[in-house]
Each structure stands twice: as C-alpha cells, then as structure tokens.
C-alpha cells in the first residue's frame, strides 16, 4: 500500500530508480559467479557447472541458516559446498580425454538435481536472512529507502573485484595462474603442476559461485524454492567473455545484467504489466546480444587465455 503511494509520488521516475536498485540487488550473484568463473578460466579451464554450484550454494546456505540461525555460517557452508563441486569438476577434468565443457553440463544437471533432492524439506521453513545496510534513511520516500538497502555481500563483491584483478595481475600466484592458462606446456616446463593449479583455481571459483548462491536464498529473492535460479550461473559464464576475463569489468558487466533483469519488475511496479513475460527475457536477450557483438569468428579475443576451449 505504502509502496503504491510512493510509486504514485515518484511517477515514472520509479522505473530508473527500480532499475538502479535492482541492478545493485540482482547483480550480486552475477558478480560472485563471474568473478569465480573468471579466476577459473584464467587457468585455462571452463566450468559450465557453476549453475549447479549456484543452486547447491543457495540450498546449503538456506539449510545451514535454518538449522544454526546464523546466515553467515550459511554463506560459509555455501562457499565450501561450491569448492567441493569445483574440486569434483577439476579432478574429473584432470583425467586424460575428459572434456571440461561436457563435465560442466553434467555437473550443472547433477548440482541442480541434488539441490532439489536435498532441499525438499526446506521449501516451507523460514530461515534467518543476511542483514542489509540501510543507506537511504535520509530519504522520506519509502521506495528510495528500500532501494538503498544494500546487502553486505554486494559490498564484499565490490572489494573482491579489484582484489582479484590485483591478485591476477600483480602477484606471483596470479602469474602462475595466467601461465597455466596461456600455455600449459610452458608451465609444465617451468615445473608447475598444471592440474594442481587448475584444481585450486576451480575450487576458488566454485567457492565464489557458492557464495553467490547463498545471496539468492538468504537475501534476494530470499527463500529457497526450485525456481530460484534460472540460468544466472550460465549467464555469468557468458558475462566473463563479455568482460574480457577482467575481474573489474566483471563488476560493471554484472551491474548491467542486474539492471536488465530488474527492468520487468520495475515496469510492473509502476503499472506497466503488458509484456511482463517478455521483459523477463531481457537479461537473456542482452546476454546474447552482447555475445554476438563482442565475439569474433576470426580472431582470439583480447585477454582470452589461450588454453581455453569455451571461446575457441
């Protein structure tokens, strides 16, 4: 009721506000999954299974938060679950003649199936949520206030993106990781264990994706059900290509995707309901359009690790 009144007070300004607020709110899982995928792909391996990791993370976080009453413990468990799935992906792909894209698809189906199986008892109960920091208490308009409810995980992501960029570009670890991603043979010749580096990077990527999943169930939309994720994990993989394997650009790309996802609900909140289902497709259309615009059939993309198969 209050929101409706505020929407009237704001008029059509509610749309850009809703989109901006949605960009911050919806982008967080994109941000975490794409950062994770970015780190994994820099080592020369693609993990398409992050969709499954995301859903498993959401389920395990919700269950943990329900049992222990601590949402932060849920975030940790989600991360560990993700790391476990990442480790499974990495060890399967370390075997000769096993294709990482196919394993990713398998883990996507497995992760989603397992999460639905184990998560059945948690659809009804209410678990404690992650806290948000109200940045908008200065405003009297309730919409502005709710739009500026920023979750801590988003802020963590804000810090994490430049940190990951620094790690990749400026540290010894990052150098080894990039070497493995550019030329496994050179890395091997230098005495690095390629599979071990990839195991660590895939587990780290899985951890981040799991944390991204915990955001879905513990903050927004904020409940566990079987329709929780619809391809966010996979869109994040496309997003990494768009971001040219650069963690900071992953942040901007995530915000853009978040804005695209928020368009439908924002229009609906000001009374534009026509084509609501079409606007739901906006993030997918945007992803596809971006991929078409940025891919090239002729050359390797700048920043793309040479060992990668996804954008071959």
């Amino acid at each position: 009721m209050e929101t409706a009144a505020a929407a009237q007070a704001l008029g059509l300004w509610g749309v850009p506000l809703g989109v901006a607020a949605g960009a911050v709110r919806v982008s967080t899982p994109f941000l975490f999954v794409s950062l994770g995928e970015c780190v994994t792909e820099k080592s020369g391996r693609v993990n398409l299974g992050l969709e499954g990791t995301l859903v498993m993370g959401a389920m395990s976080a919700y269950a943990t938060s329900y049992w222990t009453g601590s949402p932060w413990l849920g975030v940790l468990v989600a991360g560990l679950t993700g790391a476990l799935l990442g480790g499974l992906h990495a060890s399967l792909c370390a075997m000769p003649r096993v294709n990482d894209i196919a394993v990713g698809i398998a883990l996507m189906l497995f992760g989603v199936g397992l999460a639905f199986f184990l998560g059945k008892p948690f659809i009804k109960p209410i678990a404690p949520h992650l806290p948000a920091i109200p940045f908008g208490n200065w405003s009297s308009i309730s919409q502005v206030r709710s739009a500026l409810q920023v979750n801590v995980l988003f802020l963590v992501g804000l810090v994490l993106a430049p940190a990951a960029a620094f790690m990749l570009a400026r540290t010894r670890w990052g150098l080894v990781l990039r070497t493995v991603g550019e030329s496994a043979d050179s890395a091997r010749a230098m005495g690095y264990d390629v599979n071990r580096v990839r195991l660590v990077s895939t587990m780290a990527g899985g951890f981040l994706a799991g944390v991204g999943g915990s955001f879905l169930s513990l903050f927004y939309p904020g409940s566990w059900n079987e329709g929780l994720s619809s391809g966010q994990g996979l869109m994040a993989v496309a997003l990494v290509i768009f971001a040219r394997w650069d963690p900071v650009r992953c942040l901007w790309a995530s915000l853009l995707f978040g804005a695209a996802s928020a368009l439908g609900p924002a229009l609906q909140s000001v009374g534009v309901t026509k084509g609501y289902y079409l606007f739901n497709a906006a993030p997918y259309v945007v992803t596809l359009a971006i991929m078409i615009a940025t891919s090239s059939a002729k050359r390797r993309l700048p920043g793309q690790p040479a060992e990668l198969t996804v954008a071959r």
Partner: protein, 387 residues
C-alpha cells in the same frame, strides 16, 4: 585389423591374438565401458539412496517394476522415450561436427508453440492436413531456433553451448508471453493455454498399444539421422569437420553451411518433440511444454556417443528411469528429484569413463600402441575452430 600377410607373427605371439575385426572391437570397447559406467552409477546411486534411508535393492527393484516390469509401465517408458529420442538428436547431430548444443529444450518449446499455432490455424480442415502442418511447423521453427545458434557460431564466433541455452530461456519467456497474452484462450483460467486443436486432430495411439504415434516419429527420425550422419556423403563430411576442421576446409567442404545444416536438422528433431507433446498429449500449448526432456536428451546423446541408432535403446532406458520416478515417490517417499540425481551421477560417471578408452589392451589393434587409438564421438576435446 590383423594383418593377413603376417600370419606367422600372429601365431608366434599368442598373447597378441584379438577378438574380431577393428569395428567389432571398438563396439565391444564402447559397450563394455558404457555398461560398466551404468553399473558404477547404479552403485553410487545405491549408496546415495541408502544414506537417504531407503534400501537400495528395493529401490532398484521398484525402478525395474516402474519401467520395464509390466506392459503398463513399459508403455509408460515408451511414451517418455519418444520425445527423448527426438531431443537427443538435437545434441547428437551437431556433435558430429564438434559442436556442443544443449538447447534442445528451447527448440522443443518453440516447436510445440509453432505446431499449436499451425494446428489452430488449420482447424476445420482434415486431421491429416492439420497434423502434417503441425509437423512441418514444429520441425521448421525448432530447426531455425538451433540453426540460429549454429549460424552465430560459424559466422560470429558465438559459443554455441551458451547461446543455445540462452535461447532456451528466451523460448520459455516467449511461450509464457504468448499463452498469457495474445494466444490465451479465455476459458483456460488456472493454467493459461492456447485454444485446443480439437480432439479429432490429435495424434492417435499406435493400434493395439497405449502408446501414441510419437514413438514412431522418434524411431524414424533416429533411423533417418543415422542414414544422413553415418551413411551419406554429408555424414562422412561431417565426421571430417568434427575430426579436423582445417583438413575439411582444405579439401573444399563447405564447413559453415554443413554446420548450420546439422544444427537445423537437430533443432528440427527437437521441434518435432514439442509438436508431439502438443499433438498427442496436451492438445494445446501451455507451460507443460517445458518438460525437461531437452536436458535429459543431452544425457541420452552423450550416453549413445552421438550414434543415432544407439539413441533408440538409450532413450528407452532413460525413459524407463523417468517412468519409475512416480513409483519411487510413492513407495519410498523420495523426492521427485531423485531421478535427476541418478541422471546426474550417470552423466558424470559416463564422462569420467571416457578416460578409459584405449586403456584396455584386449580392445586394441595388434600393432598400435594403446594411446594412439583415435577417439570416436563427443568425448574427445573437439578440435573445432571454424574460421
């Protein structure tokens, strides 16, 4: 192949004697590794359900009973196998050229949607015309849907795995938009749907069976796909493209066109799966078109190593697993996702099994060292680099 010119060498080295010809050995290798993988997956799944509190042996027995144990359950299995055969082709045909397409679900959705629209448009003419029109519409639109992913792949370098899945989500949004809005039948209150195509126009059961003609569509499609991909010149060229795209280009094959054609055919097959769902099961298009058959079809294609003939029994097997889902829920109170978990485990074990090819001496050529046996099918890292 045992070299007939050197019988003495073979005779003096009895441990090198091998069974059958090269082709038979390869088949034996595939069959034993695949069935080993299925058994391993069953074992892991058994441990899983044991942890979940059910007796694994009873679960296996109920799965058998619910899939192949009676004529009723077997017909249920066949009903589920029919769309799986068609959606599996959506992954299997492009895979011959090294593409990994996972958007069969979306092609089935738009195929079913197009079939429903066509069926409604032709209502009032003869049932034969309606069904033919629906079949063609489903095939064409499903084909264009995946053909788009293939076209983007070869002309724009867009990764086909991701784009085909994005297209699936777009297809579902399109379906929701149309059945909630422009195409909505005012009488469908709880579940927005298009109007019904008419009972007389629906696809009937095969005489004497409780299984509709969709099964025949599926089997025929697999046989046709086998002829196209494994017997015809086009199929030979496709294998060349999948094996070494440079070599295929140098020998003058139209690689791009062939890739798009394979995607068109595969997507068309999945579109027919959607058409069958509309014409034989629902009679109209609604959210029930989003069945998940497209995703299971990926598993079927991988399990069958993209061989269209092998898809027929594999789809029947996985259809059976799907058919047993209801019984597992009723008897053991297990969640409906149990079957998905088993399929996931099976998929992972099958892929892990890829590493075993060429490792067993008994399946190898006499002279060739084990590691040089060429990989067949999807498992090897696709050397696809269409430029």
């Amino acid at each position: 192949m045992i070299n007939p010119a050197a019988p003495a060498a073979t005779a003096t080295a009895p441990e090198r004697r091998r069974l059958g010809g090269a082709k038979a050995r390869r088949l034996a290798e595939t069959l034993s590794i695949r069935s080993g993988a299925v058994l391993t997956a069953l074992l892991i799944f058994g441990v899983f359900v044991a942890i979940a509190g059910a007796n694994p042996l009873e679960v296996f027995y109920e799965m058998y009973r619910g899939s192949f144990g009676s004529s009723f359950s077997f017909q249920n299995t066949l009903l589920r196998a029919a769309p799986l055969m068609l959606t599996a082709l959506c992954t299997a045909l492009p895979a011959k050229l090294g593409l990994i397409i996972i958007g069969g679900e979306g092609a089935a959705v738009v195929g079913g949607l197009a079939a429903a629209v066509t069926g409604l448009g032709l209502r009032g003419t003869s049932p034969w015309l309606v069904l033919t029109g629906m079949l063609l519409a489903g095939f064409a639109v499903g084909g264009l849907w995946i053909g788009l992913a293939g076209w983007l792949r070869v002309y724009r370098g867009v990764n086909e795995t991701i784009s085909s899945l994005l297209l699936t989500y777009i297809a579902i949004a399109l379906l929701n938009h149309l059945v909630e809005g422009p195409l909505r039948d005012a009488t469908s209150l709880n579940k927005p749907s298009t109007a019904h195509i008419g009972i007389d126009n629906m696809l009937h059961n095969i005489p004497g069976l409780d299984v509709h003609w969709g099964l025949v569509y599926g089997v025929v499609a697999c046989v046709v796909a086998y002829v196209v991909m494994d017997v015809s010149v086009f199929g030979f060229g496709s294998s060349m493209v999948g094996g070494n795209v440079r070599a295929a280009q140098l020998s003058g094959l139209p690689v791009r066109a062939m890739t798009v054609i394979a995607c068109l055919l595969g997507g068309g097959a999945a579109g027919v799966a959607g058409m069958v769902e509309v014409a034989a099961v629902h009679g109209k298009a609604n959210a029930s078109l989003v069945t998940g058959y497209g995703y299971t079809g990926i598993l079927v294609a991988f399990l069958a190593r993209n061989n269209p003939l092998a898809i027929i029994p594999v789809a029947t097997l996985l259809g059976g697993i799907g058919a047993s889902s209801g019984l597992l829920q009723r008897v053991f109170n297990l969640p409906d996702a149990t079957v998905s978990v088993f399929q996931g485990i099976l998929f992972i074990v099958i892929l892990a099994g890829e590493t075993l090819y060429g490792r067993f001496a008994i399946f190898q050529e006499c002279a060739a060292p084990p590691a040089t046996k060429p990989a067949v099918g999807n498992s090897s890292t696709p050397s696809q680099a269409v430029t």
